[in-house]
Amino acid sequence: MLHTHLIVVIKGLPTLTESRRSELLAKVRSGALSSDERNEIQDAILESIAIFEDERDTARQLLAFT
């Protein structure tokens, strides 16, 4: 299965270290992702979305403010 979005997103996950991102990327590409690793990625992406949403809200506020 192609993981186009997943690979791009993992590369940019701010809450994981670079080495951890590389390890997980290799697992995704080889299809050898364990259940724990799958959960780890899901948690990291969800946390990132929460961060992005905060930034988006701040930007909207600033736009309204200016």
Partner: protein, 378 residues
């Protein structure tokens, strides 16, 4: 955050006066600039052009940033589906992630305001200058991105001013009175609270007043330009070389920059490019408006390289307070002479830590002075 380029609208040719005046959002600034007294018309016009460009560029870049971040969110959701999370489960778990983040930010912010309060009071009793102007406080609040703060500030601006302007002996009483006013308003007129701020909890209102408390009734003699050490502490990595670093260790130099100066710095993990001394002042100062004794700047998701550089650029007497990855235990990294640091709270060598700092600490941390860090741990 966006890269505040200054080569947007009007980069190759100055806008005409008609264009300037037709831009409604900039109209007030432009009008003020054009009608200022005591400077020549050409200078006034130049000022108007600069205001127009800055405002336009800021909005253009902010809009671009909004599009980018919305794309990132969509892409992240698509990635979750690729990894087997159905869309209804995504929304459910996102709700939990948002709550957890909100909770962590609250805890962190609350602790920060407490420390700031203690720091300000300590300096007041030592007759050391601290504090910020009302305008700086406003930017500080907005800059923190705490929506409820911005809303309370906007809605109760006159009441907040009463708190800040209060005679010191009445400050606490006036602050309590205003806090009750806000509470009562929120309870009685909850339909006037914007939907995206609901629920406005007591805790959130308390948080705002914790932020305000250090500035209640501060003697005006303490309203000074931003403290030098705060500027030292806010520095992350100076991307334009050592001369820029020297420039930003003295805030007065920022204000004396040539009007045409172009600056690019990384502050709190965000790149800021600004054109002209006024723009630098406007964009950088919110990050160092807090009194030096407490939290100076929060930074998040820097790269290993950025963090290592930052730690080795710090001077003795400064430190970074963070939490350990995994167990969230307190970690303090003290700057030492030269390129060395001393780490408390982690069982890792200095060399390994400096190589991969983000492997060991969470991505949000704050600068502090060694003195304050020691005070906090005793």
């Amino acid at each position: 955050m966006p890269n505040y380029k200054t080569n947007g609208l009007g980069a190759n040719s100055d806008p005409s006066p008609e264009e300037i005046l037709s831009f409604t959002d900039a109209a007030d600034d432009v009008k003020n600039a054009l009608t200022s007294e005591g400077i020549s018309f050409s200078e006034r016009f130049q000022h108007a052009v600069t205001s127009f460009r800055l405002l336009t560029d800021f909005r253009v870049n902010l809009t671009e940033f909004l599009h980018e971040i919305e794309e990132k969110i969509d892409q992240a959701k698509a990635a979750l589906m690729e990894i087997g999370l159905p869309s209804d489960a995504i929304e459910q778990r996102l709700k939990t992630a948002r709550n957890e983040r909100d909770h962590r930010l609250h805890q962190h912010t609350f602790a920060h305001y407490r420390a700031m309060h203690e720091g300000v009071r300590a300096r007041l009793s030592a007759d050391e200058p601290v504090g910020m102007t009302q305008d700086a406080f406003r930017r500080f609040v907005l800059g923190n991105g705490v929506k409820i703060h911005a809303w309370v500030y906007e809605q109760f601006a006159n009441d907040i001013k009463r708190v800040i302007d209060a005679p010191p002996e009445q400050a606490d009483a006036i602050l309590s009175e205003v806090r009750d006013t806000v509470h009562d308003f929120v309870i009685a007129h909850s339909n006037q609270v914007p939907d995206d701020l609901k629920p406005v909890t007591t805790e959130k209102i308390e948080l705002f007043f914790e932020a305000l408390r250090p500035f209640a009734g501060i003697d005006k003699k303490y309203f000074i330009p931003l403290p030098k050490a705060a500027v030292d502490g806010m520095l992350g990595v100076m991307v334009d070389g050592p001369q820029m670093q020297e420039l930003f260790t003295d805030f007065a130099k920022i204000k004396n920059l040539p009007r045409e100066a172009s600056i690019r710095v990384i502050v709190a993990g965000k790149e800021i490019s600004a054109y002209g001394s006024e723009a630098v002042f406007q964009q950088v100062s919110p990050y160092c408006a807090a009194p030096v004794s407490a939290h100076i700047v929060m930074a998040h998701y820097r790269t290993d390289n950025d963090v290592s550089n930052m730690l080795t650029l710090m001077t003795e007497g400064q430190c970074v307070r963070a939490t350990a990855r995994g167990n969230n235990a307190d970690v303090t990294i003290f700057a030492q002479d030269g390129d060395h640091v001393r780490i408390e709270g982690l069982n890792v060598s200095e060399a390994e830590f400096l190589k991969h700092p983000m492997k060991y600490i969470n991505h949000t941390f704050e600068f502090s002075s060694t003195e304050d860090a020691n005070r906090a741990t005793t």
